[in-house]
Amino acid sequence: MTIQQAQTEIEEEFELFDDWMQKYEHLIELGKDLPQISEEHKDDEHLIKGCQSRVWLDARLENGRVRYSADGDALITKGIISLLVRSLDDQPAADIVEADLKFIDRIGLKEHLSPTRANGLLSMAKQMKFYALAFQAQNGDAYG
């Protein structure tokens, strides 16, 4: 599945909900399936500072694809992270660097990625891309 396909799938999934409560309940459920960052990586180095809720993110390269794991201490934050991970995980670094994340906007959760929200999610999205960029540089053109 490409990033685009994964995002379309999420959008279709969210179209099923006609009220905000269902949407948020689903988001909370999704957060529970987040690929968990290992406990020893829940440290300052992996912490994304977002003032209110804390988010930890890790990434590694596996067969030329970026694999993410994460955690957060608020459920809604975790739900949004899981959407970002679902769209970018197991994809080539070059595609991640190029990816746009407007699907969050389209499913009506834009405010959570707003720079005025003190939840660290925007920095988190940036950090995901930053990891991809670093892997891309590391590997020269091999996977790019």
Binding site: Y24, I28, C51, Q52, H112
Partner: protein, 404 residues
């Protein structure tokens, strides 16, 4: 206030008609900032439409009008705080700015061996300026401990011969505790220490009498007393203000400027360098008029009944804990639901149109005391209704279910 009276009052606040996420706004973030009545909004516009120029020393009519409006606001503020003289009323940018004015000036009179006493319940605005003053002067910062119910563990033994100033809030913004400032002031004075009271949260909720309290300094925030942002008040006893070194230098605060040296103006002007927030002061005056017309005691009683209603109903929710259970409390309810993060509570309530605040409320030491990342906090104002409080409690119940 009767339900009808509150409904009448609400008509004065245009913003209360707003909708968020398609729901009518229920605004319960008043401890962070209260909404503004028409009287205040109009006063600012009227000032700019009919009376604006720069204040003081102008010979023309507009400058006269601006000066009169500004000085009239000072007089209204004097009445609000029951200060002896208008010279004791300094307009600042806010409560933070007022505290910094004192901490900076007073800090210059501190030296190694001196002690500054603050409390565990302080807002960062009444911690950091004193830490800075202590760092610069070598003085020691000491802390009045808190008890788990959110009250201060006050004892006059905390005062020593070396205590130069005590800085505490009248009401805690995070927990709502009303602190025994009368006693702290009396004890401190008996030991020869001065006292600054951070009145950011008491201003909107109780009648303040700085003379009866005998506080040396008292600070309030305009935007929390139904006034505009960017304006606040520093009250200081005249003798104290005469001794206190000025904070910022510039126009308006001087008597004479020569390259060889400058002499300063008398208070309050000594502390009002530069063109002040004239429109803000004028609108703040209107906010005091508004509070007087509603009646401070009436506002306090109304908010007290809303808080009790909210607390009793919330306590019935399984796993809900209220932080700050002092007997003497102002209109704040800080809480957590089970092990849930307050951020989730805040986001879900927002979807229902209910505005509360979540986080550490600029009081990290309090959160550390409870070993929590923050709380969800609802806080009430004169225009909140019982119906809103009950809708809020219902909202919290729904949140508790969703987060289970």
């Amino acid at each position: 206030m009767t339900a009808d009276e509150v409904q009448e009052l609400r008509k004065e606040f245009p913003i209360l008609g707003e909708h968020v996420h398609g729901q009518p706004l229920i605004y319960l973030d008043n401890a962070a900032s209260s909404q503004k009545p028409l009287q205040v909004i109009d006063a600012e516009a009227q000032y700019y439409r009919h009376s604006h120029s720069n204040v003081h020393r102008g010979v023309h009519q507009m400058s006269q009008r601006a000066t009169e409006a500004f000085e009239q606001a000072r007089e209204k503020t004097r009445v609000f705080l029951n200060a002896r003289e208008t010279a004791e009323i300094i307009f600042t940018k806010g409560c933070t700015d007022a505290i910094n004015t004192v901490a900076h000036g007073f800090g210059q009179t501190l030296s190694k061996g001196d002690e500054v006493l603050i409390s565990h319940l302080e807002h960062h605005s009444n911690i950091v300026p004193w830490q800075m003053a202590c760092e610069r002067s070598g003085a020691t910062l000491k802390v009045i401990p808190m008890k788990t119910d959110g009250t201060l563990d006050w004892s006059e033994e905390l005062l020593t011969e070396a205590t130069r100033i005590v800085a505490v809030n009248h009401v805690s913004n995070a927990l709502g505790t009303i602190n025994p400032v009368e006693r702290i002031i009396a004890d401190a004075h008996a030991k020869g220490a001065q006292v600054l009271i951070d009145g950011a949260q008491s201003g909107p909720h109780m009648a303040i009498d700085v003379q009866a309290l005998d506080a040396d300094y008292y600070c309030i925030s305009g935007h929390k007393v139904y006034g505009p942002t960017g304006i606040g008040v520093l009250y200081g006893k005249l003798d104290r203000l005469k001794e206190l070194p000025p904070y910022q230098g510039g126009g308006d605060m001087i008597k004479e400027v020569r390259f060889e040296g400058t002499t300063y103006a008398e208070p309050p002007f000594k502390f009002e360098a530069g063109t002040p927030n004239i429109a803000g002061a004028v609108a703040l005056g209107a906010a005091f008029d508004f509070m007087a017309s509603v009646g401070t005691e009436r506002i306090a009683r109304h908010e007290e009944s809303l808080r009790k209603l909210g607390e009793e109903a919330l306590m019935e929710i399984d796993g809900l804990r209220i932080y700050g259970t002092a007997k003497n409390k102002a209109s704040v309810i800080s809480f957590l639901i089970g092990t849930n993060h307050p951020y989730d509570t805040g986001v879900l309530l927002d979807q229902m149109g209910i505005a509360i605040r979540t986080g550490h409320h600029c009081t990290q030491p309090i959160m550390d005391h409870y070993d929590i990342p923050g709380t969800a906090r609802a806080s009430f104002a004169a225009y909140n209704t019982e119906e809103e409080v009950l809708k809020f409690v219902d909202g919290v119940k729904r949140v508790a279910q969703m987060l289970q």
